[in-house]
Amino acid sequence: MFDLDYALSLLPILAQGLLVTVQATILGMLLALLLGLLLAIARRSRLRPLAWASAGWIEFVRSTPLLIQLYFLYYVLPETGLGMPALVTGILALGLHYSCYCAEVYRAGIEAVPRGQWEAAQSLGLRGPRLWWLVILPQAIPPQLPALGNYLIAMFKDTPLLSAITVMELLQIARISAAEQFSYLEPLTLVGLIFLLLSLIAAQGVRWLEARYAPVERTS
């Protein structure tokens, strides 16, 4: 049966694992947001090879499992001399993987900016990075924040995959504790509850974003 005392004794060590999980999620998401934006912009480039390369990369990454990407980065890449600590590899893999989903979200936001906005900006001499920074992105991104928030939650729930490359995140710590005590019920239940609780809180945040940035009548 469920041993409450044992479960409580696990909390400090699980807190350490949670710290790693949260760290991987936040840093991974920052990487995904930044890289995804660059991919989305590259995909719209007038330089055809760049646009194709970006589109091809997005399709490739989205069509292969994250677990295989993790294994590849952790076990194959070091053979070329590019070895990285497990957590760094995990963050990189999460960021790379989710950047491709974020790129598609950004793309939807960018395509929703009316053509007239591009033309007005162009007629004022705004081009290149300034055009993106001053006119397009401030209109493209806010409506997509809920979608990006959902990917943050999805990424958070994917972090247990990092245990496959020895990262001492929540699930990995729970599994080790369980193996030591021959009792899987308590640690796995706790890990599940922690994920449930944090995901629910984050989902609440996404709902708030949806209300805050609900598509308003856009008359310009």
């Binding site: 906005q117 033309e119 705004l126 006119v135």
Partner: protein, 257 residues
Amino acid sequence: MNRTRSDVRSPVAELRSAVKSYDAHTVLNGLEVSIAAGERVALIGPSGSGKSTLLRLLMGLEPLDAGQIRLFGEPLDESHRRGQLHAAQLRQRVGMVFQHFHLFPHLRVIDNLCAAPIHVLGQSKPAAQANAETLLAKVGLADKAQAWPSQLSGGQKQRVAIARALAMQPELMLFDEVTSALDPELVEEVLVVLRQIAHESQMSMLLVTHEMRFAAEIADRVVFMEGGRIVEQGPPQQVLQDPQQARTRAFLGLLPA
């Protein structure tokens, strides 16, 4: 009005043998047009006659299929990167106002006016803001500097759009049916502003308009276009009151000559 500057100064913008088509539909077919420095040209004609396309080609919003564009005496060649940069520099001296305003909805009115002067012309923020406030006062919207575009009426939006274009101190302004999207009672407030600009500045102006009386009032030359070609052009009195071409007479609702 008795302006003669159009025949002494060199052209600010020219289209030579301009061809432009969308898919199978030819919009401009060998169009030749030239706007002199300081000249005010009104483009009239039925919809689909290529008037707006002409403006969009000059502004670089559409690529030309064949022919040549010259701005301020210099030919544009956008087939390579250096030529594109050169064209972009020349087009900084050209402003445009659109039928549907296209204000930046995420920026306050004052920031709509300041963005390009600060980030393109390199003006300091205080200088750009001072200039923007002067321009807002000129278009009668001094009290709207801190407003959001969504809080303005159509006429107010268009006046802000005009001020925003003026903030770049263009030498040539393109006005693309700037009153067509407005409720009838809001048209006049925009025309008042345009009239004032025409009287106060030396800027060249190319206007696509359906307001014939307004065209007669401020234009040095009226150009009647149809099917991507110029049917008739000349001083407003002549083209609007005594056109020589039957097609022009029909468009203006005049009895056959």
